[in-house]
Amino acid sequence: MPDRYHIHTAPAPAQFRRIGKFGNVDWREDCSRCSNCVKLRCLYDVYKHEAAFNRDPMEPVGTADECKACLSCVQGCTKGLLSVSANPEFLSLGDEYWRPDILLTLWNQSDTGRVPVSGAGYRGRFHGPGFDSIWTDMSEIVRPTRDGIHGREYISTSVDIGPKPLRLKFTPDGRMLTPPSQLIEVQIPAILDMPAWTAMGSRLAAARIATAKEIKTLAVVRAGDAVQALPKQLPSIAPLFTREDIANSQDIIEGVKMAQLRDGPDVAALAGQLLAINPGLTVAVRLPLSPAAADRIIELSRQGIKVFQLCADRHGREKLPGGLRGRHLKDALREVHGRLVKEGIRDELTLIAAGGIALAEHMAKAIICGADLVAVDTALLVALGCRVCRDAHPDVPGQVQCGVVGKCPSEIESVECSYATERMVNLMGAWHSQLLELLGAMGIREVRRLRGEVGRAIFMEDIEKEAFGDLCRVPRAQVNA
């Protein structure tokens, strides 16, 4: 058994301004200064912090972040003067995919590195688009994968990237013709990808590289950003090369294990150039998620490319011509995976799903739908306080200029590399622990076995038909719902 893989997390308090869900509205007028003021009894000390601010304006006002809307003060005030209200700033965070509650839980996970635990049952909608219409399976009776008394049996989350020949070839005299396997083992089924937008790339790239080394995975960076890496960090980097980069990146190409190329007409030739410099290199091709992706993967695999990164947009959707959005990752991945299985080449290839991976469960669900692993991008920015506000104002495109000093509300451009690394490690640590929860519940001890296991998931479309297929259907308009 390999050493137990563990991500070491440590509290890394946020250095950006947190935005709480609730705000207290306190008119004060009419207050009778009674001796049993509810403010003193607030379980979360919301009003004490407010009072501290009143005494010293330099004290941070944390009230909006701490109020849980238990309404004890609202209902208890002797004069009924207090009320609580949802914070409009909180509600306007992010966009329809990166919802405020997703940003909040990512911030909390990055603070502590722990699995978010709360009381009461699930609080969200019944189902939703994309990953929210999949439930994962569990087993009532399994050998214990999770056990609070005797410790946890080891659940492996490592996956392999690289060509996996289905059979070995030999000469008649027994010499092996197949080149030796060059799999790259990453310990968590997620690599750290470049966020879709950012101007302060090199600083963030440094943090991604340090995080990838710490948690034993790979960081994708532009070739220009790979130059700053220390030699010992090179094996944790998967630089993205362009045709121009290749000529003057000899040292880097020799030092890294994996390189990425964008898909293009000459991508196979470029891969050949890279392999000429470093024959041990694994070349991955990034291609946009689209209805043509499966065909293109089959075509490229015949030309020797065996690792593919399928890039959806930030909302996990296909990018179609004309700016239209196509299928969600879950549907597209199932189609691609199914095609490759039918072609008999699925096991030779590695599929990396990228774009719209916002929560730990997306990692597991993308793998269930057929990916080997995922690439995390925007979530790493959110760990640093990003509010995904760039496109929040469709009428005023580009209103928020990421990376321009003074424009980012969370001042991401000025974060320290060590702080950014701590928070990224925390986030991935929390995701790793949550992945273990899902795998443990399923009784699966290896994330490799989760790939394409659609039988261990419940898809809303299928179960809806099975459970409610015999019910009479009524259009919503008929009942004004």
Partner: protein, 531 residues
């Protein structure tokens, strides 16, 4: 019309007519009888929360016109008072009245009155338990009768499951069934033993009983309130896995002892003193994970009950370490049956893809009750990722299991109980129409006790409203008498609504509704999915 003005005593007589059936009492401990009486149990906080906020501005002249105008009793000016009192705005029905010419807003000569949605109330709840549903549940628990129409008391706003299922009579365009003749007595009771074995019959007067909540996750007042309400309604409550508190003994005949993976507080005595023993294989909110009590809530009293060290987080293992197969499961059931030869055995499982096979396996292992706990069920503490993602919601599991048990020819030999997101009387009816015999509720009872769904049950001192907390100070926020009455009232309100629906459907018993999914329809704009 607000039923605050209704004579609640009338309701009490209405439902107390059904005699408590005699049963083979198990416990030798003196059992306390709790009267099934409906009495007002108003909100325990000073300011009752309403859907709307009514403000009277500084220019109010205290003329008292608003008092005359309001038929709901929002405005009050007792005789001899110079000023009108602070409006009791929780009684206000909102724009339906406020926008008419007869309203206080229109009648006020000073134009001093405003009616607007209450932002504090809007902060409560979530899509599953909407603010309206919480307020409606509070109203039912306070009065014992259905909530007024301005509060949505049947549905949440989750956009799926029960929230898109409707009885056909609720939707225009379907034929109205012939109602049951007025005056016919409608039966809401259930028998729980359908195995036809030598064990005694257990009869409950309502198709609902209380879910397991351990001492530690909730306060002793919450536990005892549930037990006393169960005694009043001749139904059951469940210990959860925190052990059998001494103060539960007077209600032994209405308590289910839970045997969960941690085996906290499971002793020969606690198995022998009850009429039903429940195995908890998994819990809907955290399927595949064990129970979890965070260290802060493990107070000395809790630790004593669980024979653990105070202040340490307590994790229950998953799964049962003695059960790796269905044969092992049978051994488990046999062990309980041997220990208590007169009890029924319930098996509580979560809802994996093969939930139908699990149910059949449990039946053949000897279970009397199969209890399915759907994935959106409640909990005192669970990882968010588990609550949202693992296992299927109960709405899917009920028809799946019901159809499978029917096809196996054993549907009538087993009692199918469902839980995990049953919030209202209509959810109960829909679950039964989908194929369950009855339901178990948990969160609905907590809401009746004043829960606002702030989801802070697990951390620090626990529930800020004193329900799910063993903190000596916080638990005093709620008295036992009040808790008991709220829960008795809630069951009465639900039962009245169930009877009204059964009468409308032309039925005489809740048992006739089981599996009648033909009475339901589903709201869907995706008409192709239809068979």
């Amino acid at each position: 019309m607000s039923s605050a003005t209704v004579d609640v005593r009338a309701g009490a007589q209405g439902c107390a007519t059904e005699p408590k059936r005699a049963h083979a009492g198990q416990s030798e401990w003196p059992q306390e009888t709790i009267a099934r009486e409906i009495r007002p149990a108003p909100d325990r906080y000073r300011n009752v929360l309403g859907k709307y906020k009514v403000d009277r501005g500084a220019n109010c002249a205290s003329c008292g016109r608003c008092v005359e105008a309001c038929v709901y009793g929002v405005h009050k000016k007792p005789t001899g008072y110079a000023f009108t009192l602070r409006p009791e705005d929780y009684l206000c029905v909102g724009p339906d009245c406020a926008e008419t010419a007869e309203s206080c807003v229109a009648q006020c000569p000073q134009k001093a009155i405003t009616v607007r949605p209450n932002s504090s109330a809007q902060c409560m709840g979530d899509p599953r338990w909407s603010s309206d549903l919480i307020l409606a549940t509070w109203h039912q628990a306070a009065t014992g009768h259905a909530a007024p129409e301005h509060l949505e008391s049947r549905l949440g706003a989750s956009g799926g499951g029960f929230d898109v299922l409707r009885f056909k009579f609720e939707v225009p365009g379907f034929e109205e069934p012939t109602p049951t003749p007025a005056g016919t007595e409608i039966d809401t009771s259930l028998d729980l033993n359908h195995r036809g074995d030598s064990r005694p019959q257990v009869h409950i007067d309502i198709p609902v009983y209380g879910g397991g909540m351990s001492f530690g996750s909730v306060s002793i007042h919450t536990i005892l309130g549930k037990a006393r309400a169960a005694a009043a309604w001749n139904s059951f409550t469940c210990t959860g896995e925190g052990g059998y508190h001494d103060r539960l003994k007077p209600y032994d005949d209405h308590v289910i002892t839970q045997v969960a993976t941690g085996l906290f507080g499971v002793r020969e005595d606690t198995i022998q003193r009850v009429r039903i023993v429940e195995f908890k294989y998994a819990q809907g909110a955290k399927p595949g994970l064990g129970g979890h009590l965070l260290g802060d809530k493990n107070t000395p009293a809790v630790a004593r009950m669980r024979e653990a060290v105070a202040g340490n987080a307590l994790f229950s293992p998953f799964p049962f370490h003695s059960v790796y197969s269905v044969e092992d499961h049978k051994k488990h059931v046999d062990w309980i049956k041997e220990t208590n030869p007169r009890c029924l055995v319930s098996v509580k499982v979560s809802t994996p893809t093969d939930v139908d096979m699990v149910a059949v396996g449990s039946y053949y292992a000897g279970a009397h009750i199969i209890h399915l706990d759907g994935s959106y069920g409640g909990t005192g503490a669970a990882p968010d990722i588990a609550k949202k993602n693992i296992a299927m919601p109960i709405e899917y599991a009920i028809p799946k299991v019901h159809k499978f048990l029917s096809a196996e020819g054993i549907r009538d030999k087993v009692t199918l109980i469902s839980s995990g997101g049953i919030r209202s009387a209509f959810d109960v009816l829909k679950a039964i129409a989908l194929g369950a015999d009855g339901v178990v509720i948990g969160t609905a009872e907590m809401v009746a006790l004043g829960c606002v769904r702030c989801a802070c049950c697990e951390s620090g001192r626990g529930c800020p409203r004193g329900i799910a907390s063993t903190d000596p100070e916080l638990m005093k926020l709620m008295s036992l008498e009040w808790a008991t009455q709220r829960l008795i009232n809630l069951q009465n309100a639900w039962r009245e609504q169930m009877i009204a629906v059964l009468a409308r459907l032309g039925m005489k018993s809740i048992r006739e509704l089981r599996g009648r999914s033909d009475l339901l329809c589903i709201l869907s704009d995706d008409l192709e999915v239809s068979k």
